[in-house]
């Protein structure tokens, strides 16, 4: 087990001790290393000025894969055994620009320049991913610019897609690969500085033991929420346990019976390629889930355990009839997700338990699925209402009805009364009216900054009305 942080930065292997484990990657880069190209614009993962890439080596594919992350809410110990790529790494000085930098200059994608390194890194991620040009907007959805109006940056993104791989960057990647290959086998990290610990065990068993031994510790993965508690609430976290080094926790796979098992530590981006096979209709929901930077750090398990009433993930999994696998050293239990949320930000998770997986059962061929997010803007916004509809139409009746909402109550919740009204009922206008009326029995939403209770209820009813109207129409067509 390593007690020292090892990572690759600036063309050199790094060994770090003595830096507090709750130090963010951004503070480390700017304050400890004077790498000031990475900027602090908001310190809460909203603006993307601090975007850096984390490179990870895949020994099977013999390739480095990259993800863009917000350095401001990434803890330094989380980069253990990664290559941290900053804007300073993209070119060899002012005279040899990387293709995305060249495109930004040519298209006048930079004005004041403050947000520019973050955009450059997001575009670099797109370039390295060989992403198609039409994904440009998605790649920069997590970056804010107040000067350019974005048009020139989108143009630059499109230009750089066609650009060849940069030889100077390839050489740096080559160095990084040599370093990756020189690493000994990962036996986990126990990083302890000044009475603060960051424990990142490698096996599930070790993780569960650590959880049992340290019930007061906070379990972390992407720290997209904890980063805010640190930076904005100035909270102390003397003991952290990370799930990110546990392979079982990050696995995403279909079981022979068609159940999709998503490891409790898998990020949204890691899970999506397979989850998309279950819910291809969810593409829009996925793209509107925070930003690329956040989706590459935030885990589905964390999103569920956090139990926020307005999380965009939980209503989807409620409607998919997902279960959660809760494990401790004494055993494993599987609980329907609907029973997991107990109250406002409280769950059925015991002090020694960890959410190790989410089980998404196979979907019936004729099962409707729709995930509809209502928020003030499209990109990177918190929902006022998150509505998810799932049902089958069989012999003129609603079957397997699972309607779930976020933003409508203290927890993400199934609309139990409404689901009961619809279950087995004929697909008619009259049933639809009854279902709409019953939403009032299910939910008493609150007024807050994002929406009034009245708005939330009305918009929820409208969304449901539209979905039911389509169902009635479909049923009528089927009958005719």
């Amino acid at each position: 087990m390593s007690t020292v942080l090892e990572f690759f930065l600036g063309g050199e292997p790094q060994r770090v001790e003595g830096v507090e484990p709750t130090t963010t990657l951004l503070d480390y880069l700017r304050d400890d290393r004077a790498l000031t190209g990475t900027k602090e614009g908001c310190n809460e993962g909203d603006c993307g000025a601090c975007t850096v890439l984390l490179g990870q080596y895949d020994p099977l594919g013999e390739a480095v894969t990259y993800r863009a992350v917000n350095a401001c809410i990434t803890l330094l110990p989380a980069v253990h055994r990664f290559w941290v790529v900053t804007v300073e790494d993209l070119s060899n000085g002012l005279d040899s620009l990387h293709p995305v930098q060249e495109a930004m200059v040519r298209r006048h994608g930079s004005q004041c320049g403050f947000c520019t390194p973050g955009f450059v890194m997001s575009l670099a991620a797109m370039h390295l991913d060989n992403a198609p040009a039409d994904q440009a907007e998605s790649y920069i959805a997590g970056n804010l610019c107040r000067c350019t109006g974005y048009g020139p940056i989108l143009e630059a993104a499109k230009d750089s897609v066609a650009a060849p791989k940069d030889p100077a960057f390839a050489a740096k990647e080559h160095q990084a690969v040599a370093w990756f290959r020189s690493l000994s086998i990962d036996t986990g990290l126990f990083y302890d500085v000044a009475q603060a610990t960051y424990d990142a065990p490698v096996g599930l068993k070790a993780l569960l033991q650590a959880r049992k031994d340290n019930p007061e510790a906070v379990l972390v993965a992407g720290t997209t929420e904890l980063g805010l508690w640190l930076n904005k609430d100035l909270q102390d976290f003397p003991k952290l346990i990370s799930t990110t080094r546990v392979p079982e926790m990050t696995a995403v796979a279909f079981q022979p019976d068609g159940t999709l098992v998503i490891g409790g530590g898998a990020t949204y981006e890691q899970a999506w390629p397979l989850l998309r096979q279950v819910i291809p209709e969810g593409q829009d929901w996925f793209e509107r889930f925070a930003s690329k930077q956040i989706r590459q750090q935030a885990t589905i398990g964390g999103n569920i355990v956090n139990a926020s009433p307005i999380g965009d993930g939980p209503p989807v999994f409620l409607a998919l009839n997902a279960s959660v696998e809760l494990a401790s050293v004494s055993g494993t239990r599987v609980l329907p997700l609907s029973e997991f949320f107990v109250g406002y930000k409280t769950t059925a998770l015991a002090a020694d338990e960890i959410l190790t997986a989410i089980h998404v059962p196979p979907r019936e061929n004729d099962q409707l699925f729709a995930a509809l997010k209502v928020s003030k803007r499209k990109d990177q916004d918190i929902s006022a209402v998150m509505a998810v509809f799932s049902w089958r139409l069989s012999e003129g009746c609603f079957r397997d009805v699972r309607i779930a909402f976020g933003g409508m109550s203290a927890t993400p919740m199934l609309a139990a009364f409404t689901n009961a009204v619809l279950e087995g009922a004929p697909v008619t206008e009259e049933t639809a009216q009854q279902a709409l009326a019953s939403l009032d029995d299910d939910f008493s939403p609150i007024d807050d900054l994002r929406a009034t209770a009245w708005y939330r209820m009305t918009v929820s009813q409208n969304l449901l009305q539209q979905a039911l109207a389509e169902a009635v129409e479909t049923a009528a067509e089927a009958a005719a």
Partner: protein, 761 residues
């Protein structure tokens, strides 16, 4: 594109600063670190209105790493003048002190109460939680209408009714009353201009240090000279002992034009402690304490004769000030807004009155355009309202009332003289670009999808502003580069590039050998700073004068080198040429052969006068009446900026300015709760445009050379923001008019539109 004179003018030269910016080599204030620096945190009032009964700092002093804690009383006891400056413009005005640190009473949530300095940022932040301030909470009022209601809580005891000031501009009451009574039609409109948070991507910051008797403050500004003078007065230092350095600036938009308490407090702490002191605003702190913009409620009347010609315009506005007068807060809704109120129309008479209003909220000051976007927004909405009222097409109504080219120079009702302008021509060009003729067809296609589609137009005129004086010095440095000092301050506008183009054009010195030196009050004696779209005009006049001085000074030396009489030399195409021969000598070569400093020159002028950029914005929108969602389908702008130096940079200014305007029009809404807490204090809750907000902007330049400066140019930095709000709001209003939704105010959020649509149906 436009008028192109010499090869370096009108060329889209790549920006010289970009290579620095895209590689992360930009140096912003927070990127500067000085050995031994310590960190300052500002303790701010959590309440919008309260009496401070006592402040106990004992626990703070004992906290780990704390070096100092200072309240307003401490600041005064140490000799600091606890007062922020402001200009009075109103004929009647309250005169409340705005202190640097609170003096017994706080009037907005976020007002600075004390500072804490510690060895680390974390220690300073932790210590800030230990300060014990005993507040006696008072009722607060945060919006204009509540503030002027009878029995509203008073923000300042000496401002009854919360009226901060009363101002009236030009125009005669009796004449206006007569015009209104004799008019065939009087159209009335009430309009709100929503309060916006400026949001520069680089938060405000300062690093201050003392070296002997000399104070250096590194801070993000739009020109550091005013701060230098005020620091000297506030902290009792000799002016020559104060140096303000402005490194790269991550956006200003007017918000960084004026001084802030922290720019006095960090230097104060550095002096007290003998250590370099760094301060960086967190994002939430920026949103809470940066000067905000706009916040007006206006009632306007437009008088028309029987032919629908405008005979007069009469406006009364309430202008929110926030809790205190910021430095130029009074001037913006009054004298600056008035300048362009008649717009591009032949309006014989105007009356304009403004009442400033105090509320328990963050102070208001300049935001991109400062008064002119507000004025054009009001006028161009009023033009559409009037056209509708009299049953005219808004295009033809504008056309009927345009000032004609043959009327130029034209003196407006508010006393400005427009030099040139071809408004009809530009509007028609914009309509062609926007395919006005195809609108009906597109509307039908949208209607088939259940969507309402329409087009909105705004014809804006800008009046560029700012100090008339500017200087420039030229020095060939030992490496042969020409260093050019400037008194303006780039915040991202690309000055380094465009100024180099100007100097290159005049001197022939290659662009790569020109170094623009800005943002250092020790190297540059005076500067008017950047604001009001003045920079290129004011600075280019100075640089061109310096270039002429350089050539004149160089001529004798060149003659000596070339062994000819000075009068045999001409300066053409970047070099001295001996007439009748092919012998030439360029300035760089000449300077390289002369003792250092031989060719140093300095020039200044007071010749900058306003220019009148103008143009036509056309927005086309689709509105979903079921959801209230607006999508921008097309945006066309045809601008007249006279002659262009760098079309690439100009287009960037226009594009960015328009998106800022669209942000205000479509989404940006600043919300305080009833106790005065800012609810929209983060990027989650305050919606600035993101990459999905905007479609392409179709920009065309049709320049009419300005007669008000020797270059023929007009300022372009604010124009996009000036024109955008009205264009998109007129489009939305037209799309919804058939539903009789009433007047639609900004921001046209889906929520607001949906409510208005429901209320109407």
């Amino acid at each position: 594109m436009g008028i192109v004179e010499k090869f370096s003018t009108g060329a889209s030269v790549r920006r010289l600063e970009d290579e620095r910016f895209v590689t992360g080599q930009g140096q912003y204030t927070d990127d500067v670190n000085i050995d031994g620096q310590v960190y300052m945190v500002v303790v701010r009032s959590p309440f919008a209105h309260a009496i401070i009964k006592s402040i106990n700092t004992d626990d703070v002093k004992d906290a780990d790493g704390v070096l100092g804690v200072y309240t307003g009383a401490d600041f005064v006891a140490a000799g600091g003048a606890n007062k922020m400056p402001y200009a009075i413009v109103g004929q009647e005005s309250a005169k409340p002190d705005r202190t640097i640190l609170a003096d017994g009473r706080v009037r907005f949530a976020g007002e600075p109460v004390a500072i804490i300095v510690a060895e680390t940022q974390a220690q300073a932040e932790e210590a800030s939680e230990l300060i014990d301030v005993d507040y006696d909470i008072l009722d607060a009022v945060t919006d204009i209408e509540s503030a002027i209601a009878p029995d509203a809580p008073l923000v300042h005891d000496d401002a009854p009714g919360n009226i901060a000031f009363r101002w009236r501009g030009q125009g005669d009451d009796a004449q206006m009353e007569q015009i209104l009574s004799e008019a065939e039609t009087v159209v009335e409109m009430r309009l709100e201009n929503n309060r916006v948070i400026v949001v520069a991507m680089e938060p405000r910051a300062a690093v201050a240090h003392m070296d002997g008797d000399k104070l250096t403050v590194i801070t993000s500004t739009q020109g550091g000279w005013a701060l230098k003078d005020r620091l000297s007065a506030c902290l009792g230092l000799e002016k020559e002992n104060v140096r303000v350095v402005t490194p790269d600036v991550g956006g200003g938009f007017g918000m960084k034009a004026f001084t802030y308490p922290e720019q006095y407090l960090a230097p104060f702490a550095a002096i007290q402690l003998g250590r370099p002191v760094k301060w960086l605003a967190g994002r939430g702190e920026s949103m809470l304490s940066d000067n905000m913009g706009r916040d007006h409620i206006s009632n306007a009347k437009l008088a028309l004769d029987k032919d629908h010609r405008i005979t007069g315009i009469d406006i009364h506005s309430y202008a929110g000030m926030g809790a205190y007068f910021s430095q130029f807060a009074q001037g913006i809704p009054t004298m600056l807004q008035e300048k362009i109120l008649p717009g591009v129309y032949d309006i014989p008479a105007s009356r304009f009155r403004v009442d400033g209003v105090f509320t328990n909220s963050t102070q208001i000051d300049a935001y991109r355009g400062a008064g002119r976007p507000e004025g054009i927004y009001l006028l161009e909405r009023l033009m559409d309202v009037a056209a509708k009222h009299v049953g005219m097409d808004p295009i033809e109504f504008r056309s009927l009332n345009f000032i004609r080219p043959e009327q130029m120079p034209y003196k407006t009702a508010v006393g400005l003289t427009y030099d040139v302008g071809e408004f009809e021509k530009l509007m028609r060009a914009a309509l062609v670009k926007a395919d006005y003729d195809g609108l009906a067809k597109r509307q039908a296609a949208s209607a088939a999808k259940g969507l309402r589609r329409d087009m909105g137009l705004c014809y804006y005129v800008e009046c560029t502003l700012g100090a008339p004086h500017e200087d420039s010095t030229f020095t060939f440095n030992p490496t042969g580069q020409l260093e050019v000092t400037v008194g303006t301050q780039s915040n991202g506008q690309g000055h380094e590039t465009v100024y180099a183009q100007v100097v290159h054009e005049q001197t022939g010195v290659p662009i790569e050998d020109i170094v623009i030196v800005q943002g250092d009050t020790d190297r540059i004696k005076n500067g008017g700073g950047t604001g009001g779209s003045r920079s290129l005009i004011a600075q280019a006049i100075a640089m061109r004068a310096a270039a002429r001085a350089l050539i004149e000074k160089a001529q004798d030396h060149a003659a000596e080198k070339l062994e000819c009489a000075p009068e045999d030399l001409s300066f053409d195409d970047g070099a001295f040429r001996v007439s009748g021969t092919d012998i030439s000598l360029d300035l760089k070569t000449l300077a390289g052969g002369l003792p250092q400093g031989t060719l140093d020159v300095e020039a200044g002028h007071d010749d900058y006068t306003s220019t009148f950029p103008n143009g036509c914005h056309i927005a086309e929108v689709e509105v979903d009446e079921e959801t209230g969602v607006v999508t921008l389908e097309n945006y066309v702008v045809v601008d007249d900026f006279g002659l262009l130096y760098n079309p690439l940079v100009v287009q960037g200014q226009v594009h960015g300015g328009i998106v800022q305007g669209l942000g205000q029009a479509l989404m940006e809404r600043t919300v305080y709760d009833e106790t005065g807490q800012l609810l929209t204090g983060s990027f989650m809750d305050y919606t600035v445009p993101r990459a999905d907000t905007i479609s392409d902007i179709d920009f065309t330049h049709m320049g009419v050379k300005s007669l008000n400066n020797e270059m023929g140019i007009k300022g372009c930095g604010e124009a996009g923001t000036v024109g955008a709000c009205a264009a998109v709001m007129n489009a939305i209003q037209r799309a919804l008019d058939p539903l009789d939704v009433g007047f639609v105010d900004m921001p046209a959020t889906p929520d607001r539109l949906w409510r208005q649509i429901r209320a109407a149906s």
